[in-house]
């Protein structure tokens, strides 16, 4: 079992997300994260899906996705050179005097932005790959994370190559 990253090109139509999500839950596939949005071609959307699966399962996941009429192309980009990013918003306890400056220092090291300053909390915005965000989250836990939001990973091939429909 390992985390696989799938880049999936789909029709930009109502109901596509529920077709994909329904397929995963129905067949018992384990979604780690799913990020979806419009892409360079307005009639299509691109999904980045992270799935926990062994080799046989990931093959089934891809084949089953391909069976959906609204799915145009599925690529497993796990072992390809990619730029991958996630965005997280983290609301952390940081009262003046007890840890606020440490949190700000940590934010600096991770190049996280402080996007909100409250009387007792700070909100950090950070982008990076999953490992980086996991690391930051772990460090901030000791101060008390009140709320955490992650977008799920998006990933793009490095260089000139793209994940495109073959037309």
């Amino acid at each position: 079992m390992k985390a696989h990253t799938l880049s999936v090109l789909v029709e930009n139509k109502a109901g596509v997300l529920s077709r994909v999500a329904g397929l995963f839950s129905r067949r018992g596939f384990n979604i780690e994260s799913l990020a979806v949005g419009t892409c360079e071609e307005p009639t299509m959307s691109r999904m980045t899906i992270v799935v926990f699966a062994d080799d046989a399962q990931i093959e089934q996941v891809q084949k089953q996705l391909n069976k959906l009429i609204d799915v145009i192309k599925v690529s497993d980009i796990t072992d390809i050179e990619t730029v991958d990013r996630e965005l997280a918003l983290i609301k952390v306890n940081a009262e003046p005097g007890t840890g606020r400056s440490e949190v700000m220092q940590i934010a600096g090291i991770f190049r996280a932005q402080i996007v909100d300053v409250g009387a007792k909390t700070l909100v950090l915005e950070v982008t990076g790959d999953t490992v980086k965000i996991d690391a930051l989250e772990k460090l901030l836990r000791q101060y008390g994370v009140k709320e955490l939001l992650r977008t799920g990973k998006i990933a793009m091939l490095r260089g000139a190559k793209t994940v495109k429909s073959e037309k």
Partner: protein, 558 residues
């Protein structure tokens, strides 16, 4: 200008549809109004489930797309079992449902049900039409998707205002459709085909395991030609029965849970398994690890997702079974016998034939054999689900593809009777028999109303054991004969038929069987025979769930 309802009816006719099975209601009134003067034939069923099964039976018997129509909410929901049945057996149907007007969608309006949401996992694809301008394209796409690749049901949900709104008729139907996410593979990979042929030519104990895919791709003739040339025995799944004539020397009958002993032995000893249009279902493989344990596996299927899903495959070939078999036949440079292997199989066949007690009691196997003798492989046999289905699969001698319709994947009781109606309209000159259980028949017994109404000449042979027989059999074998809620009271089915204006009779002894069947066949209209069979007759041999397929009970001593 043309309304959506008009575009719909015209669209169906453009797709070659001659008949639809349906049931009206509020939101489909505009469609029904259009049907009123149309040449498109509509059969009014007595329950929407029957409309879906009839469309399915029509599709299986004809090879064309079957169509059913229902109103929104309860009407659409009543189609669900029929759609799921078609989905599991890869049958091309288009289900049309009415929907509340678009401005009320999502409001829990009267008779609103999210039928596209409900049927998402049981359709190949579905559509909620939002604008009349899209309708022509959607109809075209729906039929294309339903009948190509791995066939399957497609649903089109039609809000009432989509049916009533008129659009410019010159733009109603696109000349061409493009589905960039749907490109089924037809021709198999040439290298894989060559590899398969080599393996087959060098195998000592090859066996063909053929399924519904052979029937639906109309590959039966090619399959037999190939098997004959290479001297390869053929076993079929429940869905594949009829792809090779029952009395063909290479035919081993059905394999799996209620398969023949010789088919299961042959699979277990084979060194090469050629799987065509099958999906290694658990009712076929038993314990999958011990299925064909010594065999190299070639798997031919139009759906890549079926390859390697349940069992690891050595040579996958994705594509249409017929086209691949033709390519394989073209590569055979010689025909060859396999005397040793075939001799071993003949030995098993002689020592382990299917058998039942012939003691003069009215047993279902006898009835089916008599029907088989009378029809001589002509006609269409449909079954319900349970023991009746398995006895038919075991004892009826099928000779032609598309002469056997049954709910294999979903195992839907109540499928047979309405599916027979559909089969009749697909091939009106042929005798259609539904072989039923008393439980299953009562699941769609209301269709007596439909067959009486239109004088649809389907014949129903009820193997009446006054039990939910298959469940009772499991209770007998695995639950210490504790018959929990499986006994049914005696019903006078001939009287019920008579009340609907349908002929019928009861049969209680062996010598009445042939006269009764003959009377049914010779009657112009529908006919119901209530056969009072031995109540606790079982289907044997049997592989207990989860066992290896060569570990059968109720077979011959070894």
């Amino acid at each position: 200008m043309k309304t959506g309802a008009k575009i719909l009816v015209e669209g169906l006719q453009r797709e070659g549809v001659e008949i639809i099975f349906g049931y009206p209601g509020g939101v489909v009134l505009p469609i029904y109004d259009e049907l009123y003067e149309s040449s498109l034939r509509h059969i009014l069923v007595r329950h929407e489930q029957a409309a879906a099964h009839a469309a399915d039976g029509y599709a299986r018997a004809s090879g064309r797309v079957g169509v059913c129509l229902a109103t929104s909410g309860p009407g659409a929901c009543n189609l669900v079992t029929g759609i799921a049945t078609a989905y599991m057996d890869s049958v091309p149907i288009v289900a049309l449902t009415g929907q509340v007007p678009t401005n009320l969608l999502g409001n829990d309006a009267f008779q609103e049900a999210d039928i596209t949401g409900i049927t998402m996992p049981i359709t190949k694809h579905n559509y909620l039409v939002k604008k009349t301008a899209e309708l022509g394209r959607i109809i075209k796409e729906a039929f294309f998707i339903a009948r190509t690749g791995r066939p399957g049901p497609v649903l089109i949900d039609l809000p009432k205002d989509v049916s009533t709104t008129a659009v410019d008729e010159t733009k109603a139907f696109p000349k061409e459709i493009t589905l960039r996410g749907y490109k089924p593979t037809v021709t198999g990979h040439a290298k894989q085909i060559t590899k398969a042929v080599e393996l087959i030519q060098n195998a000592e104990r090859p066996i063909i395991y053929a399924g519904g895919g052979v029937i639906s791709s109309d590959a039966s003739a090619e399959l037999v030609e190939f098997a004959e040339c290479m001297g390869i025995p053929v076993t079929t799944t429940l869905m594949g029965l009829s792809c090779i004539p029952c009395d063909h020397p290479l035919n081993l009958g059905m394999l799996g849970m209620h398969g023949t002993e010789y088919a299961n032995f042959a699979i277990t000893e084979s060194d090469l398994l050629i799987a065509i249009g099958v999906r290694f279902d658990d009712r076929v493989t038993g314990k999958v690890q011990t299925f064909a344990p010594h065999a190299v596996i070639i798997h031919i299927d139009v759906d890549p997702a079926e390859i390697g899903k349940n069992k690891k495959v050595d040579v996958p070939i994705v594509g249409d079974a017929r086209s691949i078999l033709q390519a394989m036949i073209a590569q055979l440079n010689r025909c060859s016998g396999r005397e040793k292997w075939l001799e071993r199989i003949r030995h098993w066949k002689n020592k382990h034939p299917l058998r039942y007690k012939e003691d003069g009691c009215l047993r279902p196997q006898f009835i089916i054999q008599q029907l088989s003798n009378l029809l001589k492989g002509e006609g269409i046999i449909v079954s319900e689900v349970g023991q009746n289905q398995m006895w038919t699969a075991q004892y009826y001698c099928f000779r032609k593809p598309r002469s056997w319709l049954t709910s294999g994947g979903l195992g839907t009781m109540g499928y047979g009777f309405p599916a027979s109606m559909g089969a009749h309209f697909a091939r009106p000159d042929e005798t259609v028999f539904d072989i039923a259980g008393d439980g299953s028949f009562q699941m769609n017994i209301q269709e007596l109303g439909t067959v009486a109404h239109y004088r649809i000449p389907v014949k129903v042979a009820i193997l009446n054991n006054m039990y939910l027989g298959m469940v009772r059999q499991w209770q007998e074998l695995f639950y210490d004969r504790r018959y929990s809620y499986t006994e049914l009271p005696s019903i006078d089915f001939a009287k019920i038929a008579a009340a609907y204006g349908v002929d019928g009779m009861r049969v209680e002894s062996c010598d009445e069987v042939v006269p009764a069947l003959t009377a049914a066949i010779e009657t112009d209209g529908p006919f119901v025979i209530d056969f009072r069979i031995e109540r606790e007759e079982n289907v044997f041999p049997m592989v207990p769930a989860g066992a290896a397929i060569n570990e059968m009970i109720g077979g011959h001593p070894r």
